[in-house]
Amino acid sequence: MDTSGSRQASRTYYLRKNIIMGLLHTWLPYILAGIAVGGQYALIAIGYTMVYGILRLINFAHGDVFMWSGLIMVYLVTVLPLWLSVILVIAFAIVLGTTIERVAYRPLRTAPRMSIMISAIGVSYLLQNFALYITGGLTKTYPSISWLQKTVKIGSATTKMVTLITPVLTIVLVFILVMLIKHTKIGMAMRAVSRDFETSSLMGIDINRVITVTFIIGCALASIGSILYFSNYTGINPMSGAMPGLKAFVAAVFGGIGSVPGAVVGAFVIGICENLIKGAGWTTFSDAFTFVLLIIILMVKPTGLFGEKNLDKV
């Protein structure tokens, strides 16, 4: 009796293990792809969530900064060595992001919220159209960074090296960022500003510096994200930034806007779900799903997973 029972148990164990292995075997490619793209969304989403946290602004142009850093890479690599191009791309993204803030957002800081959001949309429109002009609407092929694009085999799945690098790099960068926010003076200033903009400016915090630093961090991460993203999906056209940008924003909302870890968790959830949905054959709705998720989270928990509730002052 006893032995048969244990045999039974071990059989169900193996059966179960087989099913799990089988499932993993089928789904591994999707999960891997999801994790990779999730990490890349995360790097973009941080820029959204930090800017929103401080300025209460959906920086619609962020996705286009991401696209532009990819585009600049294409042009730089033709004349410069790779390592230098990478550095310059990050520098470019930072300059572009802070310039946008300076020119298009700072003058409107006291204007109604809608004006600054419209300005953001206008900048996005301009960046896209300018890219359209420069590229002539043609898709540019991203330069191959050979070790990132090397094919590797994990279990049943074959994928690019970048798929494995992305989550690791993302988590390391996020860890550094969280430490920065928690343990440095500028990080403290950021937290203070995001909690109460006016009071912190009265307390002598240099708001402009905080905002500039926020944009620097956001854009630098977005440009790193662009290197990873475009190494994986090697075509860039003027609209390449729009969809990742929107999804990253949804990720930021999902995780609770203003929260960096939240944005990262949200991005991974969206990346993985999106690929699983494609794998399940619902390819038509893989993009729409992101927005369904957004609407569900806004209905159920408007503050997102890790967001804090804000009360209006009356």
């Binding site: 409107l108 809608m114 419209i118 300005s119 429109y125 896209q128 003076k185 002598g204 630093v213 038509t284």
Partner: protein
């Protein structure tokens, strides 16, 4: 001399202008031969009036109710499809729905009514599907509104944007093919024959929007825009009124979608992207957020500039200037820069939040000669003011610089951007005490 007119004269004047315009459009469309460049003017008026309507409907939300909604393109899409699906002639179904065995709806409202009522039936057959388009979109707007209108402004923007994307995917879904033709274009449906049709429909719709805005409900909407909390304290049910504004705006977006379908003669879901919504929004901004006349003017300017006047910028020759810079895409860059200039330096747009009025118009005309005369002096004055401002600014800068230097001097410990918090805390405390003392 008082240039104010009494109300009756004003109405007569407006009516005369409108009738003149209608006559021009009607005969213009008939008489101008296709090869003439004036034909382009008629095309611009057609498309402009359609976008004027959708911009007005967006303005009702964004400018008058303070709801930042970005779902307009999605609503237009539903309107366009609804109209098209119900007016494709019966014998064209097999061609249009070539991959879906002729679709599931095998009749056309236009044909049914036309066979019964003749020409009147033809027009009724166009109006009814258009009304259906509006009502369906209003219904969908109502349903979407229930969850999203409880959200704060930015979340509302992104949620409506999301819904528009979902709608687009839905209409392209192959499973719905027998109804929507999936990814393929719908065509052959009944369209208008003369440009006067969209102009009239859009005109009537915009007039209704104007009447609404000037009614007690319009006042309630504006109250919500100005201050939600105060509006609520004045007994205005926020949700009910927001939903009302949203539904009405959706209705007119649906109508304009139907008109757009007629204008384009074919319809597919692909162009109804967020970019389209952004363009509608930019029309509203150019015209002035909170001004329906502004939206109308903005729509015509936007359409004319992007479809007609600036086209030369793409072709390498524009107004006699030719440059190697002018290659495809240049038009859009120039256009985007113009829009950014308006957003940054002229954020009130053309009309601000004022509506057109004859009094204002005459006063403006009358003031022109004086304004032109006064212009040099005004410029001188503004220059002087600017100079002064510059002086003040530089003085302030100098002061700030001094203060900064002092501060730097105080920071003997070499405290930087990323100084650990422990040290930073001490400095903060020290500074506070210093200030108090």
């Amino acid at each position: 001399m008082d240039t104010r007119l009494d109300n009756k004269k004003k109405i007569a004047l407006s009516a005369a202008c409108l009738i003149l315009f209608m006559v021009f459009v009607y005969f213009g469309d008939i008489m101008i031969r296709p090869g003439s460049s004036m034909k382009m003017l008629i095309t611009v008026i057609e498309k402009g009036s359609i976008f004027a309507l959708v911009a007005a409907s967006m303005n009702l939300l964004n400018g008058f109710t303070g709801l930042f909604s970005l779902g307009q393109a999605g609503f237009m899409l539903i309107g366009a499809y609804t109209y098209a699906i119900f007016t494709i002639p019966a014998d064209s179904h097999d061609k249009v729905y070539q991959y879906f065995n002729g679709g599931i709806i095998k009749w056309s409202i236009v044909e049914i009514l036309e066979s019964k009522l003749g020409l009147a039936g033809h027009y009724l057959g166009m109006l009814i599907p258009m009304l259906m388009a509006g009502l369906l979109v209003a219904l969908i707007g109502f349903l979407i509104g229930i969850p999203v209108l409880r959200l704060k402004s930015d979340y509302l923007a992104i949620a409506t944007l999301g819904f528009a994307e979902i709608i687009r995917a839905f209409f392209q879904w192959n499973t719905l093919g027998p109804l929507t033709n999936g990814s393929n274009v719908l065509r052959k449906y009944t369209t208008y024959k003369n440009a006067i049709f969209p102009v009239m429909i859009a005109g009537i719709s915009i007039a209704i929007i104007l009447l609404l805005i000037n009614s007690t409900y319009g006042r309630a909407f504006r109250a919500i825009r100005d201050d939600e909390i105060a509006a609520e304290a004045m007994g205005i049910n926020l949700f009910k009124h927001k939903e009302m504004s949203f539904v009405i705006s959706s209705f007119f977006a649906g109508i304009s979608g139907a008109l757009l379908a007629m204008f384009q003669t074919t319809i597919s879901a692909t162009p109804f992207t967020t970019v389209m919504t952004y363009e509608i929004l930019l029309i509203v901004v150019i015209g002035g957020i909170g001004s329906i006349t502004g939206s109308v003017i903005g729509a015509f300017l936007f359409t004319a500039a992007s479809e007609w006047w600036l086209r030369g910028l793409d072709a390498g020759k524009w107004m006699g200037i030719s440059s190697s810079l002018m290659r495809p895409g240049f038009r859009k860059v120039v256009f985007a820069i113009l829009i950014m200039l308006i957003v940054l330096f002229y954020s009130r747009g053309i009309m601000g939040d004022k509506e057109f009025s004859w009094d204002g118009f005459f006063a403006w005309c009358k003031s022109r000669p004086a304004a032109v005369k006064a212009w040099p002096e005004k410029r001188k004055a503004s220059r002087a003011a600017k100079k002064e401002a510059r002086a003040v600014k530089s003085a302030a800068k100098a002061r700030a610089k001094q203060a900064k230097e002092e501060k730097e001097a105080r920071k003997s410990s070499g405290e930087g951007l990323f100084t650990p918090l422990v040290l930073a805390d001490h400095v903060v405390v020290f500074e506070k005490e210093g200030r108090n003392g």
